[in-house]
Amino acid sequence: MTLPAISVRSLVKRFGTSTVLQEIDLDVPEGKVSCLIGPSGSGKSTLLRCLAFLEEASEGMITVNGEALGFFENSKGERERLPAAQIRAVRSQIGMVFQQFNLWPHMTALGNVSEALKTVHKVPKAEAEERAMVQLTKVGLANRAGHYPSQLSGGQQQRVAIARALALSPKIMLFDEPTSALDPELTGEVLNVMRELAAEGMTMVVVSHEIGFAATVGHQISFLDQGRLLFTGPPSEIFAKPRHPRLEQFLDTYLDRGASMLA
């Protein structure tokens, strides 16, 4: 078996006295789409943010392609924080897409996508913009390169945000509820871009309420409830014959909602 792209071992996350993630073990397979589903407050976004090191796990280890992210176990077996530069280096393999897009409002679409190439990687301006245009073309927004975020629709902003992450050639892409802030008619264009990425073999971890996307594009589905990872498996197992009662109940509410939309 090949090395997992991300491996999570015994991860615990506490905010003050409340424990929001308990003893999470998860392997994210390389080149596959892993989906995290579960009710709100189940901890799925927090888990994703731990994978991006935007939240620091209280206990446990995360490795990205075999390299420790954030913390490592020293020779005495103690958990120790890595220096900031090393954290940045490991994190550079990861691209992140946020629910609220988080585009920088004072830069154009092209500026948002080329900024890190110029500032962090010292790529000359012309080359950085050329590479940014390749990504904007990929998400279908080459004709919006000179627009500021305030001049773009939510769906367009999210596609620029995806291009911004892709411009740095990450090995893994994390999506934190990428369509939750969008009008229903705009979710399609974002999901299409994600489908194309998946088809290219990008390793993806997706937190989403789009059960349809998870069922059709996901290779591995993980179900979280109250901070625990209750189930991980292929979509066929999860959706066709959900054996866990809590999962069944969760899926039922989605089916109910779908049925009520038809009614």
Partner: protein
């Protein structure tokens, strides 16, 4: 009122505008440092900045000017009164601008800096490329407001002997016995200057990159 009297007031307005412009600019530079100190986790930086601000916001500018004007020679700095005026006004506006900037920095959405972290920005790059431009945008209207306040407060520097609009008007009124005409003219000149600053501010705000037109 003769044209000659009016032109004397206009000439005096050069002092009003000059002192105000220099004070706003110097105050802004000081305010950037102060706001950074205010946001620091280290009390060693934060406490002095807090003390500075509470002093300059809590003492009337008139008293500050008189204090600085008398204090500088006392500690052996014999500087022209224009310097005392600029020092006083700069420090005062710095205190107000620092609080504006602090609010601006705190209002930068966390997601925008997280996005920068994710693409590998160092803390310094996040500050310069993301936080500063966005905080400036958020505080721009307050900055224009502060510029207008300072323009009007500059009338107080007459107490340290600078003949700006207000002082010139007082001198002219007492020598010509035409206070109503002269103070009305002074008011008109202040109004025009402040109106121009407000107009420039609105234009400047609209031309900031990325502001919805």
């Amino acid at each position: 009122m003769s044209f000659k009297l009016f032109s004397l007031l206009v000439q005096a307005s050069v002092w009003t505008i000059g002192i105000s412009a220099i004070s706003i600019a110097l105050g802004f530079l000081i305010a950037i440092g102060l706001s950074a100190a205010l946001l620091s986790r280290k009390p060693l930086y934060r406490k002095p900045a807090e003390f500075f601000i509470s002093f300059f916001r809590g003492v009337p500018l008139l008293v500050q000017l008189l204090l600085i004007y008398n204090l500088l020679p006392f500690i052996g700095l014999n500087v022209p009164s224009i310097v005392a005026a600029i020092v006083g006004m700069s420090l005062c506006t710095a205190a107000y601008q620092a609080e504006n900037l602090r609010g601006g920095f705190e209002s930068v959405p966390k997601g925008l800096t997280e996005a920068a972290d994710m693409v590998g920005f160092s803390p310094r790059q996040v500050f310069l490329r993301i936080k500063v431009p966005i905080a400036l945008r958020l505080t721009f209207p307050a900055l224009v407001n502060e510029a207008i306040m300072i323009l009007k407060s500059s009338s107080l520097v007459s107490v340290v002997g600078i003949v700006e609009i207000t002082r010139m008007a007082q001198d002219l009124a007492s020598s010509t016995y035409m206070p109503i005409e002269i103070f009305s003219s002074a008011a008109l000149i202040y109004l025009v200057i402040c109106w121009a600053v407000a107009l420039a501010g609105r234009y400047g705000e609209r031309s900031l990159p990325g502001v919805a037109k």
